[in-house]
C-alpha cells in the first residue's frame, strides 16, 4: 500500500533570475520524521514554502495524499501545519489570540470574530501554551511585548493546536534554552505523550542547524544550492555527507 503523504515531482523554483530550487524529487511517507539540513540560503525555507503550498513552483508538481494541491479542498490542505523560521505571528494580537488562530480552519467566521473580541474560549489554546511551558501571565500579552523565546513557543503552540497530520518546521528550536529544546522536541515529534493530553503530528519535516538534535529523526535530507544532495536514513549519516552540504 502506498503511504506517501507528500510528494514533490521534479520541482524547480525560480525567483527573478536565481534558481532557488533545482529539479527536486522527494517523497515523504506517513509517520516519517525527517531532518532537513543545509547552509543558510541553501533553499530549506523555500522547500518548506513549496511543500505547504505557500509558493507555487515554477516547474513540477506538489502532491498531498496523491492529489495535486489545486485539487484539494480547504479541509484537506489544513492537514499540514507550519512553524515558520520568522514565526509570522500577528504582533497586535495577544499570545492566546494568536494560538487560537490555529483553530480558524476548523471553525466559522463567528469564531474568528469572537477571538478578536476576546470572547471566545481559550481553553484549548491555554492547554497547548501550558504544554509549551508558557506561563499564564503572558497569555493575554501582545506578541510585541514577548521575548524571542516566548514568541517561538507561541508559534509552536499555534501550530500544535491545529492537530494536523503533517508538520513542517523551519528551525523551530531557535531562541530556546537547552531544557526547553528537549521539551519542545518531544512535543513536536512524539505522537502521544504519557497522559494522552496532546496529539503530535504523525509526519514531520524539520529544518535544522544543530546536528546534536538528529537522534529523534528517522531520515536526514541534505540540501545545497537548491538541490538535494542526500536523502538517507539517520543511521547511515556520515561525515562525508555533511561535508557535501556545509
Amino acid at each position: 500500500m502506498n503511504n506517501t503523504v507528500l510528494e514533490l515531482e521534479n520541482i524547480s523554483y525560480k525567483y527573478k533570475n536565481d534558481l532557488i530550487l533545482n529539479k527536486i524529487n522527494l517523497k515523504i511517507n506517513s509517520g516519517e520524521k525527517i531532518a532537513l539540513l543545509g547552509k543558510s540560503g541553501s533553499g530549506k525555507t523555500t522547500l518548506i514554502s513549496v511543500l505547504n503550498g505557500t509558493i507555487k513552483p515554477t516547474q513540477g508538481e506538489v502532491k498531498l495524499f496523491n492529489k495535486s494541491f489545486e485539487e484539494l479542498d480547504r479541509k484537506q490542505k489544513s492537514k499540514i501545519t507550519t512553524i515558520w523560521q520568522d514565526l509570522r505571528l500577528i504582533e497586535d494580537l495577544s499570545a492566546e489570540q494568536n494560538v487560537n488562530c490555529g483553530l480558524l480552519a476548523e471553525n466559522n467566521f463567528y469564531f474568528a470574530f469572537k477571538n478578536l473580541l476576546n470572547i471566545s474560549s481559550f481553553k484549548k489554546a491555554h492547554k497547548y501554551m501550558k504544554l509549551c511551558r508558557l506561563h499564564n501571565s503572558i497569555y493575554d500579552k501582545k506578541i510585541r511585548k514577548l521575548s524571542g523565546g516566548q514568541k517561538q513557543r507561541v508559534a509552536i503552540a499555534r501550530s500544535l493546536i491545529q492537530e494536523s497530520n503533517i508538520l513542517l518546521a523551519d528551525e523551530p528550536f531557535n531562541n530556546l534554552d537547552p531544557k526547553l529544546i528537549t521539551t519542545i522536541k518531544n512535543l513536536l515529534l512524539e505522537n502521544v505523550d504519557k497522559n494522552n493530553t496532546k496529539k503530535s503530528p504523525k509526519t514531520a519535516l524539520v529544518a535544522l542547524h544543530r546536528l546534536d538534535l538528529l537522534n529523534d529523526f528517522d531520515k536526514v535530507i541534505g540540501i545545497r544550492d537548491g538541490k538535494i544532495f542526500f536523502n538517507i536514513k539517520r543511521n547511515n549519516l556520515k561525515k562525508i555527507h555533511l561535508e557535501k552540504i556545509y
Binding site: 505557500t54 497586535d92 470574530f113
Partner: protein, 484 residues
Amino acid sequence: MVCIPLGYQLINNIHFGGFKLFQEFLISAFNPKIDNEIIITVIKRLNETILIGFFSWLVSIIFGAIFGIISSNIFYKIFNIPNFFYRIIRFFLTIIRSIHEVVWGIILMQIYGINFSIGIIAICIPYIAVNSKVFAEQLETIDYKSFESINQINAPKFSSLLTLIWNPIINTFKNFGLYRLECSIRSTVILGLFGIGGIGTSIFLSFQTLNFRELWTYLWSLAILIILSGLIFKKIKFNTTNKILSIFFIAVFFITILFSFSYFLYFIFNNNFENFNSVSSLFKSSSDLGLFDFLKLILETIILSLLSTGIAISLPPLVIGIFNNNTSKIFIKIFAFLLRLIPTPVILLTLLTFNNPSLSLAALTLGLHNAGITSKLLFTNLDSQDKRNYIAMKSLGISKKTSWLLGLFSQQAKSYLAYCAYRSDIIIRETAIVGVIGSVGLGWQLQESLSSFAWQEVTIVLIAYSSIAIVGELINGKIKNSLT
C-alpha cells in the same frame, strides 16, 4: 516669490470705502453680542451643526473603512480576485474624492432643494472616499508574511481577512477617526454658509446684514465647540479589550449600515428631481462656455492653487523664524487659531470689504486659512523636538534666526513639506469654495452654471475640476514619496 504678484494685484485693487467696516469687524471680536435670544439661537444652531457633523462622520468613517478594505490589495490577495477590480474601485474613489464637499452640496441642493440630510450626504460622499484612502493605506502596511501564515492555516477566507485587518482598522480608527470628526464639523460649518443649516448659516446671515457683533458670538461659540471637542477627544481612549464596549461599537457599526441603506433607498424613491431634467443632459456636448474662456478658468484655478499652496507652506516657517520669541509665539498661535477657526468664505468676505474681487485675494484667503493649519502642525513638531542642536548653535555665537533655521526647522523640514504636499491636495479642492464667492476660476463658473441649470456645463466643469485634482494628487504623491 508668491508675495510679488500677490502684493502687486492686492495693492492695485484696494479701495478705502470698506475700511470702516473692516475696523468694525475687528473691534466686534472683543465685544460679541450676548443676550438670551442669541444664546438660545447659538445652542440651537450648534446642535444642528453637531448633528450633521456627527452623522456624516459616523457614516463616512464606517463606509470609509468598508471601501478601504475593498480597495486594499490584501482583500484581493485573500479572495484571489484580479487586481483589475482593485484599480477600478480606486480610480472611482479618486474621482469622488477630487470634488469638494461644498461642490457636492451645491449640486445636491440644486437637484433636491435645501434639506438637512443634503448636508450629511454632501459631506459623506467625498469623506467616504478620503477615509477609504487612509484605511486602504494602513491595510497595505500589513506584513505579507502574516498573510501567508494565516493563509497557510487554510482558514475560511472571511475569517482570514478579519483576523488580518482587525488591528490596522482599529488603530486607524483610534488615530484618525476623531480627527475626521473635527473635519466633519468644520465642513458642516462651511456648508452652512451655503444654506444647509447650522451655525454656518447664522454666520453667513450675520455677515450679510453686517451684524459683526452677532457674527463674533457665533464664531466664538464655534471656537469653544472646537476647543472643547479637542479636549474631549484627547480624553477618549478606545478600549477594544472591553467586551461590552466592543459589542456596543459593533452594534453601532451594523445599525449605521442598515440605517444608511434604508435612508439611501428612501431618499432615492421619495424625492422629485424637479430641477434635474434628465441624466442625459449631463453628457451633451453643446455648451455656451467658449473654449478660450474655459481654458482661462482652468488656468486661474491652477494659479490659485499654486499661490495658495505657496502661502500655506512658506508663511508659517517665515513668521515663526522671524518672530522667534515666547511672546510672539503666543500671538502667532492665537492668530493661527483664528485663521483656522474662521471659515474661508468669511475671511474672503471680510477682505472683500476693502479690496476688489481678484485671483490674488482668493489665493490670500485660501493661503491664510491653510497657513493656520500648517502652522499648528509646525508648532506641534517644533515644540516636541530636541532643542540641543539649537542651543549648541546659539552658544557658538550664531544668530538666533539662523540657529532656529539650521538647528530646529531643518530637522522638521522634510516631514513638514511632506504634510504640505498632502495639504496642497486639499487646497486644490478648496479652490471651489473661494471660487464661488471670489469670482475666480472654475468654482465661479460652477456656481453660474448651476444657477442657470446648465447641466452640460456643470459636467464639463466637474470633469475639469476632477482632472486638476487628480493630476495634483499624483504630483503631490510623487513629492511626498521623495520626501519620506
